[in-house]
Symmetry: C2
Subunit: 146 residues, 2 copies
């Protein structure tokens, strides 16, 4: 449905996602229990529709240029507990419960954001791994779309 | 610094953001205390450098095509408590404490994600406002870069 006014877009009750020139919107998945940001991915209209209709997170893989049912090969399905959209309807926030081994990242971490940026200045910045977001039981396969 | 291997990019300790063709990466800001996702925005290299060096969130305004010090006009500065980067270094997660009136959204809400997507199917989906993320004391000015 098209939205003709900024007020309707921002304050209304009509879902009217604003896809970018590639037909995508940003999707942020957080863990429904811990609140940790698990991953940032992209959705096209089909992925959003399937996410809402099935209750399982679907994304659009930019590297593969195809619909991506999260966990389709890894078993790391994401059960959607809650879905939100932001003020200008170009970003989606999903609260999910990861299935399978409970990880969300292809590196074997519970979250893709397992590294902290350290140091107060750019030149001094380096990354440190956060054990709390790394699964001690997983290897690190290299299929970015697991 | 350039990263030459996927392993170094994903498992290393070198900050090497992968900006898109527009020179931007996605930034997700969550509330350091509540864990709520406050906003999704974009950063260019300058915005990320300033965020890390000043401890205040800086973004790149795509609508204004310029650096955007969050809260520069609204007072809704975001004090950065923690910064993380994801596995393939194309998304940043900031844990922040909003300053000023404590809101993050130009609509006067504490979070830009003040609307839930209701309904189990696309055709049945509509939006409902979440009072918990809406400040009862704010009007809704229309400057998207406040």
């Amino acid at each position: 449905m098209s939205i003709t006014t900024e007020a309707a877009l921002e304050l209304g009750s009509v879902l009217a996602p604003r896809y970018d020139t590639n037909g995508l919107i940003v999707a942020v998945a957080t863990h429904a229990d811990s609140g940790d940001v698990l991953m940032v991915a992209w959705m096209n209209e089909e992925a959003l529709k399937l996410t809402l209709s099935t209750g399982e997170a679907h994304y659009f893989s930019r590297s593969r240029s195809r619909l991506w049912r999260k966990g389709e090969s890894s078993g790391q399905l994401q059960a959607v507990v809650e879905a939100r959209i932001d003020c200008d309807q170009d970003s989606v926030w999903l609260k999910v419960r990861p299935q399978g081994d409970g990880c969300a990242c292809h590196t074997g971490s519970r979250s893709c954001f397992y590294r902290l940026i350290e140091g107060g200045s750019w030149s001094g910045s380096s990354l440190s791994r956060d054990g709390g977001l790394i699964s001690p039981t997983r290897s690190t396969p290299h299929d970015p779309q697991r």
